[in-house]
């Protein structure tokens, strides 16, 4: 087995983190890699903060310990900051450039840090910022943001692009395959821009 690689996907319940982790699991099957995952179900799903752990070629349990994730994919900037302590030294963070303000913050007039303030607090981390919403709309559906994010992160993972695309095709609803492939490719381009910067 090759070196283990740990990926944490974080976001807000309803953003499609589970589908994204299923795509990674499926890509591992295609490459005959051992894969472990752990995710949030039930009560915490309802608009709350959610996390999916994916461990490629790891022996043992499905949980990534804080400070050891190789890659963190955040569908929301606030969640990127909430889970930043999971990232290992030298780890990479791929972040969607958006903040879904928690409803409780509106109700209780809590201050929400600005995107700039969040980026400042992520200093020292290799950061790839992706306008996932805009790219998903370009691809044909705002709902494809999760697949845009996978595309953007794909260059940072030890999985072949071909197997990831095949996995996307197997995991998304049949009617949305074209849109999601376009979303994945637009994400990939954004990721390449990050890596060449």
């Amino acid at each position: 087995m090759s070196e283990p690689f740990d990926i944490l996907i974080v976001g807000v319940g309803g953003q499609g983190t589970i589908l994204a982790s299923n795509v990674l699991g499926e890509a591992c099957l295609i490459e005959r890699r051992h894969v472990l995952g752990a995710e949030t179900h039930g009560m915490a799903q309802r608009g709350g903060s959610v996390e999916s752990h994916i461990r490629i070629d790891a022996a043992g349990g499905p949980l990534i310990s804080p400070g050891t994730a190789d890659l963190l994919i955040a569908f929301d900037m606030l969640e990127a900051l909430r889970y930043r302590h999971y990232l290992a030294d030298g780890g990479v963070m791929v972040v969607a450039e958006q903040i879904i303000v928690p409803t409780s913050a509106f109700q209780q007039k809590l201050e929400i840090p600005s995107p700039e303030a969040i980026v400042a607090r992520l200093e020292g981390i290799t950061l790839c910022r992706v306008d996932a919403a805009a790219l998903a709309v370009e691809a044909g559906s705002i709902l494809a943001q999760n697949i845009v994010m996978l595309g953007a992160a794909s260059g940072y993972m030890p999985l072949e692009t071909g197997s990831l695309i095949k996995a996307v095709m197997r995991c998304v609803p049949p009617k949305t395959v074209d849109i999601n492939i376009a979303a994945f490719e637009k994400g990939m381009e954004a990721g390449e821009t990050c890596r060449s910067a």
């Binding site: 807000v12 319940g13 982790s21 299923n22 699991g25 499926e26 591992c28 099957l29 890699r33 051992h34 894969v35 472990l36 995952g37 752990a38 995710e39 949030t40 179900h41 039930g42 009560m43 915490a44 799903q45 309802r46 608009g47 709350g48 903060s49 790891a58 022996a59 043992g60 349990g61 499905p62 949980l63 990534i64 310990s65 804080p66 400070g67 050891t68 606030l78 969640e79 900051l81 909430r82 889970y83 930043r84 302590h85 999971y86 290992a88 030294d89 303000v101 928690p102 409803t103 409780s104 913050a105 509106f106 109700q107 809590l110 201050e111 929400i112 840090p113 607090r121």
Partner: protein, 589 residues
């Protein structure tokens, strides 16, 4: 053999198909629900599957099937086993002929539960075998053996996955579904199935006589195994064994416990080859207690002497921390980064357009100063709206309400309970409250589905687990049959009407029931119900924040004005509460 990336609960369900299951029942409860959900959605094997109205009912149905010789499964979450504890304890006496697996999913860290109880204690209490898998693949493989073990021992087998088994995923290797079916036949045998004192004394002795061979058999079956590698040992159970395997050095001996009762002779032989033993397990010190009994002079590190936590869940870093404190590792080797502290929290919330939010709003308007006992379901999130004062277990809203009402509390008592929870264990509380003359209002939040656990159908829904049409039960008729004379059904989206009805209830003596009825927004959307979304007229909006405080996730506050996002499901309640009439369907955003 096929390999698929599977959820733990899906792997468990598939194992049942491979083991020639013929009967499955359960009551939904996180993290157990997807087992029955997978069984009812599959078409590899035809057999009887039901969602029952509560765990006791589910247990007794499946037990009867096992008495008839079928292989049967009953599923629930750990606290559900409390509800089913009555038949559990005596089913160990009667035993079974068909394999009977009782799946009780534990929830260390209480991700979605009211407590962190340890189901392994129930197996010990009932004197039945308990299986405790450490990985998803093992859960799958163990479950197949659980059926044959149950038949061999003629006992129910408790199968205890935890959240990180049930809701973990992995590449699982499995076989096709089995094709053998059994015909259920009940063989009359009062000495076995009628537990009058004369029979049960004999059955208890028989149960005790089954014990000695059982523990050794679990070692033989490979569920409990050990390897001596040095003078210090780690003994770990369930998923903690997977975490331990990541962190223990090669010169440390390792014993893996996957089944109970633990063979004490086998364990003693292992423990006594060491100078020190560290026990790693989640929740109660079930393994540790046995280790201490057989340890002789060997030093034991665990929960009882403060080396390991009694609560919460473990992970590799936590296990490494325990080993470092016990001196097995020089240091944990894991970083201990601090999470960012000053972030706004993001708790789960009721959906945009959820009927519960509207009902709670109306309750607070009609009963501004009342005590609000509540129950278990999505609506427990009404806590954020200040309308949930107590939650302890399924069905306890009504009973806690009547208890408070009889205690002389001067304020009104208004309790809330969902349709599924009412049918689970709410009816008895209502019957009791009426019988004993309590003064209180019960609001049944009727969205026709068991929503929180993943939208399972129940007797109000109109179909069974497998999609067969069934006559929806009348909650109104049940309440009236319990003796309630004030039973009114309202549409919570009609805020004015709902508040008026609640005020009318407030003016009456005795037990009053208001049924707030509106489909769950998620099931309504799936069923194709479309309502036009609402918008805010920025000219008319004064920025008073009344709608923002309502707490709907579709309402944001941007630059001094309310703004409705595309999450809006068109319930229209915000338009009813807006004091300036700034919200309507007509406004183009």
């Amino acid at each position: 053999m096929v390999t698929r990336y599977m959820l733990g609960n899906e792997a468990i369900a598939h194992a049942c198909l491979e083991a020639n299951i013929d009967f499955a029942s359960g009551y939904p409860g996180t993290p157990s629900s997807e087992v029955i959900d997978s069984l009812r959605a599959q078409n590899e094997r035809q057999f009887y599957v039901e969602w029952s109205v509560n765990e006791k009912v589910a247990f007794e149905n499946a037990l009867a099937a096992a008495w008839c010789g079928l292989r049967a499964l009953v599923t629930m979450k750990h606290v559900g086993l409390n509800v089913a504890a009555d038949p559990l304890m005596t089913s160990a006496y009667t035993g079974v002929t068909g394999g009977f697996v009782v799946l009780s999913a534990d929830d260390p860290y209480a991700h979605s539960s009211q407590n962190e109880q340890d189901s392994r204690r129930y197996a010990h209490f009932a004197r039945i075998p308990c299986l405790d898998p450490s990985t998803v693949q093992e859960a799958h493989d163990m479950l197949i053996k659980a059926f044959s073990l149950s038949e061999e021992a003629a006992l129910p087998v408790l199968f205890r996955p935890t959240t990180r088994i049930s809701h973990s995923k992995s590449d699982v290797v499995f076989d096709p579904a089995g094709s053998e079916h059994r015909e259920g036949v009940f063989h009359r045998d009062p000495k076995q199935y009628v537990v009058i004192p004369a029979h049960t004394r004999v059955l208890h002795k028989k149960l005790n006589e089954k014990q000695p061979g059982l523990a050794a058999r679990l070692v033989e079956l490979g569920f409990n195994s050990c390897e001596v590698r040095g003078r210090t040992a780690v003994i770990a159970s369930g998923i903690a064994a997977a975490y331990a395997s990541e962190v223990i050095p090669e010169d440390i001996s390792f014993a893996k416990i996957g089944a109970y009762p633990i063979d004490e002779e086998w364990l003693a032989a292992f423990v006594r080859q060491h100078d020190a033993v560290v026990v790693i397990e989640e929740l109660d010190p079930v393994v540790e207690e046995v280790v201490r009994q057989v340890s002789g002079g060997v030093r034991v590190f665990g929960k009882k002497n403060g080396y390991a936590p009694w609560e919460g869940e473990l992970n590799p870093a936590a296990v490494a921390g325990i080993l470092a404190r016990a001196g097995v590792l020089a240091e944990s080797g894991y970083p201990a980064p601090e999470p960012v502290a000053d972030l706004p929290p993001r708790p789960p919330i009721l959906c945009a357009g959820c009927m519960h939010r509207a009902a709670f709003y109306a309750i607070k308007k009609a009963f501004p100063d009342a005590v609000y006992p509540s129950d278990i379901g999505c609506y427990t999130l009404g806590l954020q709206l200040g309308a949930v004062d107590t939650t302890i277990c399924m069905g306890a809203s009504i009973t806690v309400a009547s208890g408070i009402a009889h205690s002389g509390e001067p304020r009104d008592v208004v309790c809330t309970i969902g349709d599924s929870t009412f049918l689970h264990t709410g009816i008895q509380g209502l019957l009791n409250a009426v019988y004993n003359g309590a003064n209180m209002t019960v609001v049944i939040l009727d969205n026709r589905i068991t929503a929180m656990t993943g939208h399972q159908p129940n007797p109000t829904t109109g179909c069974t687990a497998c999609g067969v049409e069934s006559a929806p039960v009348s909650l109104d008729a049940i309440c009236r049959a319990c003796g309630v004379s004030f039973v009114e059904t309202v549409d919570p989206y009609d805020l004015v009407g709902t508040i008026e009805c609640l005020k009318a209830a407030r003016g009456k003596e005795g037990v009053k029931v208001v049924i707030a009825k509106q489909p769950c927004v998620i099931t309504a959307r799936r069923a194709g119900v479309k309502r036009r979304p609402f918008g805010v007229d920025p000219e008319a909006c004064t920025g008073c924040r009344v709608c923002v405080r309502y707490g709907c996730p579709a309402i944001e506050f941007v630059e001094g004005k309310a703004y409705i996002t595309d999450l809006c499901s068109g319930c229209g309640v915000c338009a009813e509460i807006c004091p300036t009439g700034a919200i309507s369907v007509e406004v183009k955003q």
